[in-house]
């Protein structure tokens, strides 16, 4: 989990704790690893959250103002509206799993490394 390679190279003084051994939040906040983590996480979650809202609101507006389009038959008695509705379920599952993978693979190791430096989990 922790990135031992980079961790092994840093000298003792790079531990992000103050004199009393508590985490030094200002130092962590300014640390390149924290800045990288923040950039990475926010660049992932903000566009995705915006996408979720836009996609959902598009669907809602179509349902409210283009009912004829939604009533277009696709196959059998299944119409475009039902398929679009079910696609909201599909996109929800897709976004869930994308985020879970991102968090597990990208964010969690960076967090673990920072926690190590700050003297938590030791």
């Amino acid at each position: 989990m922790t990135r031992m390679s980079s961790f092994a190279q840093v000298p003792e003084k790079d531990y992000l704790v103050d004199e009393s051994g508590e985490p030094d939040f200002a130092a962590i906040h300014a640390h390149p690893e924290f800045l990288a983590l923040r950039r990475r996480v926010l660049r992932f979650v903000f566009p995705l959250a915006a996408l979720v809202l836009c996609w959902y609101l598009t669907y809602v507006l179509l349902a409210a103002y283009a009912p004829d389009l939604m009533a277009t038959p696709v196959f059998g008695s299944v119409n475009a509206g039902l398929l679009l509705g079910l696609s909201q379920f599909a996109s929800t599952v897709l976004i869930m799993s994308r985020y879970a993978r991102f968090a597990r693979r990208k964010a969690d190791p960076m967090v673990a490394s920072l926690r190590e430096r700050a003297g938590v989990d030791r």
Binding site: P23, H29, A49, V52, A63, A64, L82, Q88, T92
Partner: protein, 525 residues
């Protein structure tokens, strides 16, 4: 309905006995505020996720959404999509950060780097108002359910049942605290999921696992005919009703992640990783649940028929019980009824716990006692508050008998999205956000929402209003979200930019670091 009231009551009492036993067994360590509010943060993500879906899937979802699909077709389905998609917001933006920053209540997070007293007080007021709306809706729902299932038609009889529900719920909360309440939610959510999945598989099987057959038969049984499969049967009547639907959709999608009893669930797990797993598990449960309600709703239209549903006592809410009776006789009806009752019990218990925590932790311990209450006093206040809230909700539920339950729940979502969400997001992601900004946003969102509701068709001027004999409605929409949510975001921005106070940069650093990494978060006790 031709169910057997004695069988209904027997199965319900059996479930209540099991839950009370479980609550009693797990309650041994319910002695500190950390136990009472957050179950010692010792649940796993999956357990908490199931409980989270239990908190969220109220009787309004179980009976209301399936019933709406049975009667209104596609427009009912739209409702369920909002409830589901809404969960991506807490997954992506809120859950993990809440766990890292806070300890017991929403007030912990939004007051973290602000002036404690005013911000905590505002957070507590909005928590109490939202819980009140939600609680009264659930209690009134219990009244509807009982008229439907136990054949209790007299107001006195319904009031007695509501009081009974209230008393059991108070016992859950007092004896079990968060740990007991969580186990009640887990039991209830599991029962609910098994119940809807079995019903939906049965219905699919009955129509040869053919979606087209199910849809055609549903249309044949529905008053709208094939038009039920397109949007507009319920919301498409006029430009106002369309706008009202957009407003409702916005409130649903933004409100779910800001409901105080949902937010409080993130504290019952040890860390952010488990908080994330909680939301992921809850989302899986809800994907299955809402797909099942779609099948059940269409099934009810096909098998029971929409006119029989509308003319039954309880109207739309009767769709699932009627369907259960048609396909499984009195026994299945009794099981469905018992699950619906347990759902109400569990949800009101969660709400009461949240409201009592918010009052005791935010108002009593931090606002009135400056963060230094006498040992044991905070827990005592929390328990007394739970009893008071329980009694008030019994009273409110009795007064609200016969009110439109679903619209009350939708209003709770609108208030949560207006009063809580902007402040939560600004606090977590905007360094400059200040005390003035959070007070503007919380009081502005809460106030504008309540004001718009008071002058909306929900309260007066329509055939299903609370007051039908007077008309003082000025605002055309039943749901205020479309106006109050953007207004609250704007007020939060204006309060921050125009206010004289500047946030403490040290606390801002700490909040950012802590929310992303959990460094400095309180360890498990």
């Amino acid at each position: 309905m031709n169910g057997d009231p004695i069988l209904n009551v027997a199965i319900f009492l059996a479930i209540v006995a099991v839950t009370l036993f479980v609550v009693y067994r797990v309650s041994s360590a319910n002695t500190s505020t950390a136990d009472y509010y957050a179950a010692g943060s010792a649940f796993t993500g999956v357990q908490n996720g199931v409980a989270l879906s239990g908190d969220y899937l109220s009787a309004a979802s179980f009976l209301g959404v399936a019933g709406a699909i049975a009667v209104h077709g596609y427009d009912g389905f739209l409702y369920s999509i909002g409830f589901l998609v809404a969960w991506l917001i807490p997954l992506l933006l809120i859950a993990e950060r809440f766990r890292n920053v806070g300890r017991f209540t929403m007030g912990d997070v939004v007051s973290f780097r602000m002036r404690q007293r005013p911000v905590r007080a505002a957070a507590a007021y909005s928590t109490l108002v939202i819980s009140a709306f939600y609680l009264i809706a659930q209690m009134a729902g219990a009244g509807v359910l009982v008229s439907l299932l136990l054949d209790v038609r007299s107001t006195g009889g319904q009031a007695l049942v509501i009081a009974g529900v209230g008393v059991i719920m108070i016992v859950y909360v007092l004896v079990g605290g968060m740990k007991g309440t969580t186990w009640v939610q887990i039991i209830k959510a599991s029962l609910l999921l098994v119940c809807v999945l079995m019903l939906s598989v049965f219905i699919l099987g009955k129509f040869g696992f053919s979606l087209t057959t199910l849809l055609d038969r549903a249309a044949a049984g529905n008053g709208h005919g094939a038009a039920m499969h397109a949007p507009g049967t319920q919301y498409g009547a006029s430009p106002t009703s369309r706008l009202d639907f957009v407003s409702l959709a916005l409130a649903l999608v933004l409100g779910a992640g800001a409901l105080p009893h949902v937010l409080m669930r993130f504290y019952t797990v040890p860390d952010a990783f488990q908080a994330r797993r909680s939301v992921l598990s809850a989302l899986w449960a809800m994907v299955l649940f809402y797909l099942a309600t779609l099948v059940i709703g269409y099934g009810a239209s096909a098998i029971v028929g929409s006119s029989a549903i509308i003319s039954a006592p309880g109207g739309e809410n009767a769709a699932v019980p009627l369907l259960a009776f048609e396909v499984g006789g009195a026994v299945l009806l009794a099981i469905v009824a018992a699950v619906a009752f347990t759902t109400i019990l569990a949800v009101v218990a969660g709400l009461t716990l949240t409201a009592s925590a918010s009052f005791a932790h935010d108002v009593y311990a931090n606002v009135l006692r400056g963060g230094r209450p006498k040992p044991g006093a905070e827990l005592r206040v929390a328990r007394i508050t739970a009893v008071v809230i329980g009694c008030l909700s019994i009273l409110g539920g009795i007064l609200a008998l016969g009110q439109n339950v679903a619209s009350l729940v939708a209003l709770a979502f609108a208030i949560a999205a207006s009063a809580n969400l902007p402040t939560i997001l600004y606090t977590l992601f905007w360094r400059r956000f200040s005390t003035t900004g959070s007070l503007f946003s919380m009081y502005g969102g809460l106030g504008s929402c309540l004001l718009l509701i008071a002058f909306s068709p929900v309260v007066s001027g329509a055939s299903n209003s609370i007051f039908t004999n007077v008309d003082f409605h000025l605002f055309p929409l039943s749901n205020p979200g479309l106006v109050s949510i953007p207004l609250s975001f704007l007020l939060g921005y204006l309060g921050t930019v125009l206010g004289r106070d500047r946030p403490d940069p040290r606390l801002a650093d700490q909040l950012e670091v802590r929310s992303l990494t959990g460094i400095g978060a309180r360890p498990r006790p």
